[in-house]
Amino acid sequence: MPSGLAEAWAIAAKDLLLEFRSRTAFLSALVFTALVLAIFNFARDPTAVSAADLAPSVLWITFSFAGVLGLNRAFSLEKENRAIDGLLLSPASRTALYWGKTLANLVFVGAVEAIALPLFALFFNVPLLDVLGPLLLVIALATVGFVAVGTLMSSMAVNTRFGEMLLLVLVLPFLVTPVSAAAEMTAKLFAHRPFAEWAAWLKLLAAYDITFAVLCTLVFEFTLEE
């Protein structure tokens, strides 16, 4: 295993261990998810709006908020511990640092999504199992795209005056492509539409992920102090 990857895993493990000890962020993300799902259910008129029409949007609003909460968590962890200084002194490369943090964020957001998804299926009566494979792919791709950019923005926002608010302002325009693509594909999947109808979105999302994963890796070092 190349040393960079091992370093990244080590950094991710450290982050996740810290999170696992306190668990507050994870729990608040879960509670928030359940709340959003419940509100959407109560706020609609079941005779006028079918659950199936609303379902993709609800799912992705929920996941987006979970993602933002995840990034905020990582962000406040950095701020509290000033852990970044310790990491910079370590022999880990900048790239390993970036991917370690991104990996930790991915695991966190992924864990929230893993619990939110069955909850969603439960509340909205959506038959997930027959499209589960493609759906998981869509969720994974969108999450990677979102977290890759978010981790980079987070490393900048942590050194600024407005902190978390700035993180949100910076990240939101970058959510458009992954979330809209994912929502579109989710809608097609739930409606059992053929692959040809959503193939273009898949390509767009894949292109986005590759472009921004590479770009963020390349520019990450500029967000660190010399």
């Binding site: 407005f162 458009v176 492509t177």
Partner: protein, 237 residues
């Protein structure tokens, strides 16, 4: 350290250029309103085009400058590139705002709705958010070196985001036919309208350059003054 003479010259020239530009914009206003024929199907509201389209062109030009300067800054580390990017972002935001204000007003007359997630306006909206984020980021970082680095990172990311948003919106619209009140294909512009449009493009670009030069020159002078004050504070310690 004294103030920079070239920047002071640029400040003056920028001031002249932007004033001339503004007067010429007023001239285009007169030409568009009084001396350009009314379009047959859309009526008077079509004339908004002579403000809207050139503003959009300038806004994208400004954002292009931000993107290029950001990229160059990361390689060359030249502070002037950062200041130019910042100036372009601020002036560009002004033009983006105009596009976002005139667009829906025109749209209301064509589409019957203020906002229809039209491909170009939606792209402009998100570009506006990115520019705003860029300006807020700059306001949130005090140290010039870090501010320049962070801005450059956001500038590059933002520039690369543009094609993705464009494709996202196009893809959405081709797959979801939108209800339209009046179909508007790009009309064949008769000569006088074309002349007005071209004049408008030229004049708005001139106005933009004037604003940009003035804003950039001022940024350089402000930076020099801040350095001077920091040096003085250090010296008196």
């Amino acid at each position: 350290m004294t103030a920079i003479p070239s920047a002071e010259r640029a400040l003056r020239r920028g001031g002249i250029l932007m004033t001339v530009g503004l007067v010429l914009v007023a001239g285009v206003y007169v030409r568009a309103l009084a001396f350009t024929p009314e379009e047959a199907t859309q009526g008077l509201a079509q004339k908004i085009f002579y403000i809207h389209a050139p503003s959009a062109w300038v806004a994208f030009l400004a954002c292009g400058i931000v993107g290029v300067c950001s990229l160059l800054y990361l390689f060359l580390k030249e502070p002037r590139l950062d200041l130019l990017a910042a100036a372009s972002a601020e002036v560009g935001t002004v033009f983006l705002t105009t596009v976002l204000v005139t667009g829906p007003i025109w749209g209301k007359t064509i589409w019957g709705a203020w906002w229809t997630w039209d491909a170009r306006l939606t792209l402009t909206l998100f570009l506006w958010f990115v520019c705003l984020g860029y300006l807020v980021l700059r306001g949130a970082v005090d140290e010039p070196g870090r501010r320049a680095r962070y801005s450059a990172v956001l500038g590059i990311l933002g520039a690369l985001l543009v094609p993705f948003i464009h494709v996202s919106v196009l893809l959405f619209r081709t797959l979801h036919p939108q209800p339209v009140v009046l179909q508007t294909s790009r009309p064949q512009l008769p000569n006088s309208m074309l002349v007005t449009l071209l004049l408008s493009f030229a004049v708005f670009t001139l106005f933009f350059v004037g604003l940009l030069v003035r804003r950039y020159a001022w940024a350089r002078l402000a930076e020099a003054r801040a350095e001077r004050e920091a040096d003085d504070a250090d010296a008196s310690r």
